[in-house]
Symmetry: C2
Subunit: 384 residues, 2 copies
């Protein structure tokens, strides 16, 4: 595919942001991205917004025009894209297509979620709408339960250990210490993970990503227009997206996320890259087992080797293939609709050399975003 430039990025602090409204969060991240790009609002041709469930979290559907309105961007086209926790990644892909189609040249893509306005119970119910409502959620299944089954089976098939799962969380908390936008700035140990309250056996509290408010934005531009604004754009060179059975019980395997594999294959093919060429990756660690499934499905490690690779430090900063340098969903936080965009922001910062104390040496990066337990996956390859 023709490449599309990322010319600006912006984030809000991730966390329990009770003082900020949904719209404020988006406008804060969007303003930072627009300022970072060195453009102003009149340069923007269209807006895409990833959001999982404004309708349930804040009683507001139709959020794309709400945001365009609050951001002073009307009358440009404003479009919400949703695929549960993959909403942000899908919004990026629609922004890329909008530019490749020739219909737009400069597009703002953001993701936003305000999750802490509901009770924990209603938040859990809302997140469960990303699973098969009739066959999973209705029966009482929630997301920790779904990922717990995937974890237990992975341990059974591949000998992945409870400690290896914990090491994903330990690594990502370590990385988040150096990310000022992260929700958690606290170092944790394997012992603390293993001693944290059991949520859904074998997953414990510190295996799970938190409930988070936050927003993330990028400014995309055609390669031609990008030259007006920057000498050093980062390019999206590959995009892949795939669907799979929404319910876990319908999949051939629950230890291999075929949507991740298929989205990865499409993205690699479009970029003309192989997994071995990826030097930094943000992947979807909503639960610790999620990161292991992700790096295996993306071919960054061999199938079944995700636990071992984590234990041996291959995915740490300084390792063979640093994963979730931002802190990941686990420690940076997981405002579900914003996550896929925030992942791209981190990869851009790494490729620009602006990642501060968590900087790695990379020319090729990857962002991987999952909806539900793997019903949707989307992968982008970025290069400087």
């Amino acid at each position: 595919m023709k490449r599309v430039a990322v010319i600006g990025v912006g984030l809000t602090k991730f966390g329990e942001l009770w003082d900020a409204s949904f719209s404020q969060l988006f406008v804060e991240a969007g303003t930072r991205a627009i300022n970072d790009a060195g453009i102003d609002g009149t340069d923007v041709d269209a807006l895409y917004v990833g959001n999982m469930s404004g309708g349930r979290f804040i009683d507001q559907e139709h959020i794309s025009c709400l945001i365009a309105d609050y951001a002073g961007l009307t009358p440009i086209p404003a479009t919400r894209v949703e695929a549960a926790c993959a909403s942000g990644g899908l919004a990026i892909r629609q922004g890329v297509m909008a530019i490749l189609s020739g219909m737009h040249e400069v597009v703002v893509v953001g993701g936003v979620e305000k999750m802490t306005d509901l009770s924990t119970e209603r938040t859990t119910q809302t997140l469960a709408t990303a699973s098969d409502s009739e066959w999973e959620a209705f029966m009482g299944m929630t997301f920790p339960g779904l990922y717990a089954m995937m974890a237990r089976r992975h341990m059974h098939e591949y000998g992945t250990t409870r400690e290896q799962l914990a090491m994903v969380a330990v690594k990502n908390h370590e990385n988040a210490l150096h990310n000022p936008y992260a929700q958690f700035h606290v170092r944790i140990t394997v012992e603390q993970v293993l001693g944290s309250p059991l949520v859904a056996d074998p997953l414990r509290l510190l295996d799970c990503s938190p409930i988070t408010d936050g927003a993330a934005c990028v400014v995309l531009a055609s390669e031609e227009r990008a030259k007006e604004f920057t000498d050093s754009p980062v390019f999206i060179t590959g995009s892949g997206q795939a669907s799979s059975s929404i319910a876990l019980h319908s999949r051939e395997s629950i230890t291999f996320v075929d949507a991740t594999y298929n989205a990865g294959q499409e993205a690699y093919a479009r970029a003309g890259r192989s997994p071995a060429e990826v030097q930094v990756a943000e992947v979807h660690d909503a639960f610790t087992i999620g990161e292991i499934l992700a790096i295996e499905g993306l071919g960054l490690v061999e199938r079944g080797e995700g636990g071992r690779a984590t234990e041996e430090g291959e995915t740490a900063i300084g390792g063979r293939i640093p994963v979730n340098t931002s802190g990941g969903l686990k420690a940076k936080g997981h405002p579900v609709g914003a996550t896929g965009v925030a992942q791209v922001v981190e990869v851009v910062l790494q490729l620009r050399g602006e990642a501060g104390k968590r900087q790695v040496d990379a020319d090729v990066g990857l962002a991987h975003n999952v909806g539900g337990s793997g019903g949707t996956a989307v992968v982008h390859i970025l290069e400087r």
Copy 2:
């Protein structure tokens, strides 16, 4: 813009479909569209779904992968697009862009909503999430109230009469008599509209579109690929989309929907057409005043002349510019996420000469879909 072909269309019956699930509705419409196109599932590269509020109507977000799963279309990319009642029209536009981008060649675009599983009160609350939740819905405002203010002001500014509003409903019910997929097959009179229960003064029950279950699908293809499947495609030659203030109180005028105007201008410009060249139009008559605002905003009649044009039969079948030959949202029904796609289906049937007793003579048609009270509008120009 380069044109994109519509090579297949399909609808479900619209109505209170208590025996059919959300997924069944989509699959029924999608199967008809695929059969109509003469393709099979393996030809489909991607799926777009317009849906307003699966999260609230059926406790299910992440509906795009649910549908891909139930339709046997995995692992293709499946993406939900949402902008309240404009969700279907936006999904069409994303499908067009996906093809123009070169990333896909054959795309199924559908819209679906299952609205009758909730109580009327909860349905009304859910529809109100398309307005500004903080400043309109929270204060008790619902959609009939918003459109009632627009109607009252239009009567004040332009002398539009209560009877003229009623004539929109009478015309659309007449048209629906000849549409086998329509929710209502009942002729009504101006006297019946004026005698129906008051909902929000001046709007009465028969000024309002109903609560509806239903789905609609189209198959889009690049012009090159379309030749494999059909000798007589209909082409989407123009697409326009615009945003405006989500809340009515923030607009300069409430008798002119600027998003409709801006979306129309973009669509006309991309197609190289003027309003005078449009020969058949499906427009967003969620309330009778909506049709009058639509035909004025689209330039099909002069500003302020919508009521008079309706009274004089200009918008009837056989008139100067037939509007809502399908019966419109008022009488065909308004499954909110499906509506924008169903509008395109009707225009395609008209351009193909397959509209039966409601057939008009047209080479150029237009579909116009609104989100909320006009926060979003999307317009497509179709030609044979």
